[in-house]
Symmetry: C2
Subunit: 195 residues, 2 copies
């Protein structure tokens, strides 16, 4: 397969990019100086090589600990639990949260064999055990499984004596956090309620 066909195929694996769009991207790059394709290639390789989970919270990180965990200006008494690492970025971009995060790595889904043991629940409880956290914000998704996960977390965290809140209604039901606009997420953060 030619280099052009190969690149077209790789581009068309990306979501929302069909064969025609892929070809258009390839031709665009062929019209530009080759360093433009090399820069994109380098950025892809950097992400593949460097980005890994933060050993403390599970957020995307380029080191042992992520930028949020190493930021001394963050408030360690507030912990926001999200399902996936890419949801941290969605909350960070609102600029309205100054606490820390904990990434579950999914949500409870008995039908898919995802129980508490498959999620980062034990490390979460260990963090609560340290005694610094005063408030746990449950930011699981608004789906049925996300709700079930929230309820499970509430029951599990309750004995640790922390305040447990959840994002306010305002997040459109059935939406993934990553697609919700920043001001909606900010509203939901500000309107969080006791569980």
């Amino acid at each position: 397969m030619s280099a052009i066909d190969q690149l077209t195929r790789e581009f068309s694996r990306l979501p929302g990019i069909g064969p025609r769009t892929a070809l258009r991207l390839v031709y665009h790059l062929l019209k530009r100086p080759p360093d433009e394709a090399r820069r994109l290639a380098g950025a892809l390789r950097d992400v593949a090589d460097r980005v890994r989970p933060c050993t403390r919270c599970g957020n995307f990180s380029e080191g042992e600990l992520c930028e949020v965990c190493t930021d001394a200006g963050r408030d360690p008494s507030t912990l926001c639990v999200v399902e996936e690492a890419y949801e941290v970025g969605a909350i960070e971009r609102t600029g309205s949260y100054r606490g820390l995060y904990h990434v579950l790595g999914g949500r409870l889904s008995p039908l898919d064999g995802v129980g508490p043991e498959e999620l980062n629940v034990a490390p979460l409880l260990a963090r609560l055990e340290e005694g610094t956290v005063r408030e746990l914000i449950v930011a699981t998704s608004a789906s049925v499984e996300g709700e079930a996960t929230a309820v499970y977390l509430e029951e599990t965290a309750r004995p640790h004596g922390v305040r447990i809140t959840r994002l306010a209604r305002g997040i459109p039901v059935g939406s993934d956090l990553e697609y919700v606009d920043g001001s909606t997420i900010a509203e939901a953060l500000a309107g969080r309620r006791e569980m």
Copy 2:
């Protein structure tokens, strides 16, 4: 700048990809095994490193000569002139052309300082000089500048005694007449053919 931000920026340089779509692509890749990003990076690098103009016709090539020029099954007596190398692919995909190509590398545009010397016209005349070409198909674009380029090529190639043709103007297949612009309909009327 973080690896994720960098990749988001590089993606959003591509045509039709805004910052949100770029971020969605990055998160998609972060959710997949890192080898997927590496494969895309490798394909980009291959295109940047290997693809260059065919020394004979100007088409994209991974060697000295492109796949069309090295294909002994092609008819060397027909030569199709296009403005850009990526237009060769558009004609090739129809499967209805068996001749060779010549890529001009643009179209005449005096206002932008593009005269015949800036285009691959001299190499085209050299190919006609060889005496193998019997028909020159002028497939420049249907814009004013493309038309001017076609007229210039016709005048320049005429002394070589080859048949000179151009792509038919007419109604695009599958179009409703009401959505086709007037000048195209006028061309289609003028070029009407017996049924």
